[in-house]
């Protein structure tokens, strides 16, 4: 009997030992950053000055240069990847935006090698970037900061910087401000903004990227085109009807689909709405009526826009 007691004691003891080991407390992430936790230095330049200093690398297609001194500027995140349409990309805008058309009101693209940047760089977040060790130049005539790489086609391009370099070259300044004035897009739907848009003198890469709002109709759903399904050059498949912004069937080498926006108030002006496949905007049905579109405008051989988020279409598509 005594041995049975021994056994039961052993049983109880061993069961007590078998507590769950996989217990961890939720971490406090209040102070979590992937950027530098300490100051990266005092601001000594602006986005405008950077673009000006490296203008030849900004305008000669797909050129870049490494910065090897401390060049530190501040900007506000006005576009990120929260809608899935921009990839590994932030758009920073100079702080304290000026009047429409002011040359100092500049934006620049920052490439970071990570597929989901928006949690770290929310819209309205002011950041400081030290260009030392990074490269400046352009990707398809879009002024950019990053690091070069070779594309799948074997071409050298200015791509995103290594994600871990955020810890040495980027500093967050304060908390994100969703009401930051920099988040107000340049209104190109009428008046001064529309005139600026139409003026051919402004149509150059140095004026890109820009956060703008334009108004118009999408050409692909006007008249008889609405029922005509295009065939993808690469996929060999017809796009589904009714048309959406970026059906997989029409993807191009950049995994995106171009639609043409007929800009209201400028009969001869059109703008390409470029949407990558596989995000929330891609599957939105294209409205045939006039809407306003807000997004990141760039210039290659014409104006082009990438919407940030499906909310950038107004009135919203149901």
């Amino acid at each position: 009997m005594r041995k049975i007691y021994y056994f039961l004691a052993m049983l109880t003891g061993t069961m007590a030992l078998t507590g769950c080991m996989d217990n961890t407390e939720e971490p406090n992430t209040d102070d979590f950053v992937i950027t530098s936790p300490t100051s990266i230095g005092e601001t000594n330049t602006t986005i405008y000055q950077v673009k000006k200093e490296f203008s030849s690398y900004m305008t000669n297609n797909n050129t870049d240069v490494k910065v090897e001194r401390d060049l530190i500027f501040e900007g506000v995140v006005v576009a990120n990847d929260d809608g899935g349409n921009l990839y590994q990309t932030l758009i920073l805008r100079d702080i304290n935006p000026k009047a429409t058309g002011d040359a100092h009101d500049q934006c620049i693209q920052v490439g970071i090698r990570n597929s989901w940047l928006s949690p770290y760089f929310k819209r309205g977040q002011r950041v400081k970037i030290n260009l030392n060790g990074l490269w400046v130049g352009n990707y398809s005539k879009v002024p950019k900061i990053g690091q070069p790489y070779y594309t799948s086609a074997g071409n050298r391009r200015l791509g995103p910087m290594l994600f871990d370099m955020c810890a040495t070259n980027i500093e967050l300044v304060g908390a994100p401000n969703p009401d930051a004035p920099e988040l107000t897009p340049i209104d190109c739907t009428q008046g001064e903004g529309l005139s600026w848009l139409k003026d051919s003198k402004n149509q150059n890469p140095m004026n890109a990227p820009r956060l703008v709002t334009v108004k118009g109709k999408i050409a692909e759903v006007q008249g008889s085109k609405v029922k005509y399904a295009d065939t993808g050059e690469l996929s060999g498949e017809k796009e589904p009807l009714p048309k959406v912004f970026a059906p997989e069937a029409l993807y191009d080498a950049g995994y995106a689909v171009d639609r043409t926006l007929l800009v209201s108030g400028a009969s001869s002006l059109s703008m390409t709405i470029r949407t990558s496949t596989q995000n929330d905007i891609s599957f939105l049905p294209i409205p045939d009526d006039e809407r306003s579109y807000t997004g990141v405008m760039t210039y290659y051989s014409g104006w082009q826009m990438q919407l940030r988020h499906k909310d950038d279409i107004y009135p919203a598509i149901k």
């Binding site: 049975i4 061993t14 971490p27 770290y120 290594l162 370099m165």
Partner: protein
């Protein structure tokens, strides 16, 4: 350490005294205390879906009784056979995972004393409990009366998967009322980071309770129940580059720091409570016996893993885009040279940056839990990262009855019936939302392809966009029912030097899937029953032996067998749809074994050869396919393999205290066909899947006419070896005992371990896209050399579109190497029948950390694909070369096991 008792006992039986045999029994006892049962560490740490080590406990085979343990460090599998070809019986009842065909060793983990009574048979032998498969069988007798009466306490320390073990066993033997009771309880554990592999822990309790009642001289009833609830963290395989960056072959990518504390992402929780009721009947003269069993087994198995959705960055630290080699193709000599790097300083800059990042801080190369929490907390309540539990539960009821009749001294026969019905329950639940409030149950891959609001994105149309909380089932949920029945019989006859046995069995198998979710991509064939698939199989075995005297025996066994495909390989994409694999047939097995067993004075041993031919097998792998950007199943059917080789075991008993032994094998285990293949991405609907499963090659001939070749999808596997086990293994050992001390030293040599090959890399379709399909360019000349196609793989066609030759891409063979093991033990008899045993075993004494035990190729290509008009062609090479970066496992470094056992 080698247990050795059975081998030695075979030699000693004719030569040495009873005292010596008792001594060996002590050695055996000491050895088994050190072994985690006879199942190896690797067995206990296997995933459910891994090929488990076959470790037969052979009663009288000097080779098979040794190899399972002697070669366990290298995850040796006898004859390179998967565990599904080996059967394990408990008290005469075969209770196993009918979906995979495997016995779950972890269900008896830590029950060394309760499972000590076992009987094993090789392929060529017969048993009174059933017919063995090609890998043999073993029976464990856990009846209460079979546990040695008394108490035993064992305490162990080691540095393996766990670091400490304590076991207590007590058995009463029969009391005057005919009752016998036995029980055993144990604990094995290692806190996080204490085991041999960083970032792992081990936490296992085991129990065994048995009662037996002798009703009368003819009838006995027995009830046993056992289980081993276990929680353990797993190691993950990594590439050679990652091991180099971590400066360790035991780097484990599965863990990281959370709030400063270590946490593993891959934790297995398993518990297999089992109960077996047995009724033994024997005739008064003892010539007839009936054993009838009823067993119930409920297996709970959950394996955790990280999940992520949307565009969230892959959280695995060794994700290839995090590695220095993702910057440029370091295996391309046109790029990895001084001139190129000088001309492209940005490449070297980035490579150096990542190298420094990886090597500067351990936390940089582990999971960043805090980052996942941070991201989730920034995402408005929806989880981008989460930890899921993948459940594979089973409920099994098994019945069996066996009748044995010894007709006379020359003839006996046995008849039996076995029934097994299993319900496998497969689903996943939310383990941890990592700081988020909920997760929406949609398929992230389908969401990308069809849109997040599309019906195709829904994992369960019956509950669309369901918000998942911790504990909720999501993703997939299905049952697999498997019902098996077997009737068998065998007859044995011996007459003088001759022995013959014939046996046969007839099996019926019914399987069916029941979907509990209606998947958005497979609306009509995901929810509800799949319809039953039925298979009839069977086999016959003939054994003939000749023993001119007790010292020599020659035996020949031949079998023709068939078995139903395993349910887990029978559905094209079991997590999401009901469809069966095409070309599903019973596997045919033809096997032959010839052996010679001998005793020449002090020299004894056995040599033998075997050959097994497997035809029409089915194998399935699943992987993330970056071409389709979705989780994909690849099923091969019509798999033919040939396993053959020689095995030998020799023992030289120099004195009663000193002996030498040598045993080893040289075998082959080859695929000999190019099986039919099916690709089934989970995130794609039927039309896309159909397109994916077509093979078409268009060749422009000299006269500019186009030759179109169409064929079934197949894997060019002919010539590939079974991976993950040494095909050459030899051990040379010495045993010495004096005055209650026991010493043993084993030198082991292993070679011809192959990397498990990737079927995807060898698909004819992959070949076609990668430009590995060749047509004559000038008469009968090809634009590729034989050496190139043998290395890179390829298919050669003639001008009429007929296949001239197919070459499987070369398979990596690991370097061979040595390991040295030793053990020392002391047995102390004490007063009043008490005893103390102490044993220390040392494995891999020379700390050989370069021995690869296995690994696998990544199912990805080295090239981008460009599409034009719906046709894919090979594009530029990727910066990261997947073909140069298989993932490997290494044998444990030096490790020890100290055990102290006290019997009282």
């Amino acid at each position: 350490m080698s247990k050795g008792v059975i081998l030695m006992a075979a030699a000693f039986a004719l030569t040495f005294s009873q005292v010596q045999a008792q001594t060996e029994a002590v050695v055996d006892s000491l050895s088994q205390d050190n072994a985690d049962f006879t199942f190896t560490e690797s067995q206990l740490d296997e995933d459910n879906d891994a090929a488990q080590t076959v470790s037969n406990v052979q009663g009288n085979d000097p080779y098979l009784s040794e190899v399972g343990y002697a070669f366990s460090a290298m995850r040796f599998r006898v004859r390179a056979l998967d565990n599904q070809y080996n059967q394990t019986y408990i008290n005469g009842l075969q209770i196993f995972d009918t979906e995979s065909g495997r016995f779950n060793y972890s269900s008896v983990g830590g029950l060394n004393d309760a499972t000590r009574n076992k009987e094993g048979i090789g392929f060529g032998q017969v048993a009174n409990y059933g017919i063995s498969d090609v890998g043999g069988a073993q029976s464990i007798n856990m009846r209460a009366s079979q546990i040695a009466a008394g108490s035993k306490l064992s305490v162990s320390a080691c540095n393996r998967n766990y670091v400490g073990r304590v076991m207590f066993t007590h058995a009463t033997g029969y009391n005057k009322n005919g009752w016998a009771f036995a029980g055993s309880a144990g604990y094995r554990g290692a806190p996080m980071g204490w085991g041999n592999v960083p970032g792992t822990f081990y936490n296992s309790f085991s129990y065994f309770l048995a009662a037996q009642k002798r009703l009368n001289s003819q009838n006995e009833l027995s009830l046993v129940t056992y289980g081993a609830p276990t929680e353990r963290a797993q190691q993950g395989a990594s590439t050679e580059e990652v091991y180099a960056l971590a400066n360790s072959h035991y780097y484990n990518p599965n863990w990281g720091y959370q709030g400063g504390k270590k946490r593993s992402a891959r934790v297995v929780n398993s518990f297999d409570p089992t109960a077996i009721f047995t009724w033994d009947w024997k005739s008064l003269d003892g010539t007839k016996k009936v054993t009838t069993n009823a067993g119930f087994h409920y297996s709970m198995y959950a394996s955790s893993a990280l999940g992520w959705s949307g565009d969230a960055y892959d959280p695995r630290p060794d994700y290839y885009k995090n590695l220095p080699s993702s910057i440029f193709d370091v295996y391309d000599p046109t790029k990895n040279n001084a001139q190129y790097l000088e001309e492209n300083p940005h490449i070297l800059d980035q490579w150096n940056y990542l190298y420094s990042y990886w090597t500067s801080d351990e936390a940089h190369r582990q999971i960043n839990w805090d980052r996942m929490y941070y991201v989730n907390r920034q995402n408005g309540g929806e989880a981008l990262y989460y930890m899921e539990n993948r459940h594979n539960d089973q409920m099994t009821t098994a019945l069996s009855s066996t009748f044995n009749h010894s007709v006379d001294t020359h003839n006996k026969y046995a008849l039996g019936v076995q029934l097994n019905t299993t319900k496998g329950m497969h689903y996943k639940t939310m383990n941890d939302l990592l700081g988020a409030q909920y997760y929406t149950d949609i398929d992230k891959f389908a969401s990308n392809d069809y849109g997040a609001s599309s019906p195709e994105a829904q994992n369960d149309l019956l509950h669309p966009n369901r918000r998942i909380q911790v504990g909720d089932t999501f993703g997939y949920n299905y049952n697999i029912f498997v019902h098996k029945a077997r009737v068998w019989g065998q007859y044995e006859h011996n007459n003088g030097p001759w022995y013959a046995a014939v046996s046969g069995h007839l099996d019926g198998t019914i399987m069916e899937r029941e979907g509990l979710m209606q998947n958005g991509r497979y609306v009509d064939y995901s929810y509800g029953k799949s319809g039953a698939a039925k298979f009839l199989s069977g086999g016959a075995k003939v054994t003939v032996a000749w023993s001119p005297n007790p010292n020599h025996r020659i035996q020949l066994t031949n079998t023709r067998d068939s078995r139903a495909p395993e349910a887990r390989n029978s559905f094209v994409a079991p997590r999401v749809q009901n469809n069966y694999v095409n070309n599903l047939k019973v596997e045919q097995i033809m096997s032959t074994e010839l052996s010679y067993k001998f005793v020449f004075g002090k020299f004894s041993g056995k040599v033998g050869g075997y050959h097994a031919y497997f035809k029409n097998g089915v194998e399935q792998t699943a992987f993330y396919n970056d071409q389709q950007s979705t989780f994909t199943y690849l099923t091969m059917s019509g798999v033919d393999r040939r396993h053959y080789g020689v095995e030998a075991a020799f023992n030289l008993q120099v004195t009663s205290s000193l002996s030498f032994h040598l045993l080893g094998t040289y075998g082959e285990a080859k695929y000999i066909s190019n099986p039919y293949a099916q690709l089934n991405p989970e995130g794609s609907e039927a039309k896309e899947i159909a397109k994916l499963n077509t093979y078409q090659v268009t060749h422009t001939q000299a006269d500019n006419s186009e030759l179109v070749v169409k064929d079934d999808l197949c894997v060019v596997a002919d010539g590939m070896r079974v991976g993950g086990t040494p095909l050459t293994a030899v051990t040379l050992g010495v045993k010495y005992n004096v005055s209650g001390w026991f010493f043993q030293l084993n030198a082991n040599y292993y070679d011809r371990v192959y990397l498990a090959f990737s079927p995807y890399q060898r698909l004819n379709k992959t070949y076609a896209t990668a430009g590995k399909v060749h047509f004559p360019v000038n008469g009968n000349q090809y634009d590729v050399t034989k050496a190139e196609v043998e290395r890179e793989g390829g298919i050669l066609y003639d001008n009429n579109g007929r296949i001239v030759a197919s070459y499987a891409k070369e398979q990596e063979k690991f370097k061979g190497g040595f390991m040295l093991d030793a053990s020392i033990g002391k047995y102390i008899r004490m007063r009043h029948g008490k005893s103390l045993s102490i044993n220390l075993s040392l494995q891999n004494i020379t700390n050989n950390t370069k021995m690869k035990t296995g690994g696998y190729e990544q199912n990805r290509d080295d090239f981008y694909y460009t599409e034009s008009g719906g046709q894919y062609t090979k594009g530029e090479g990727k910066a990261y070369s997947f073909s140069h970066n298989p993932k490997y496992y290494y044998a444990f470094p030096f490790n020890f096991f100290l055990n102290i056992g006290f019997k009282f």
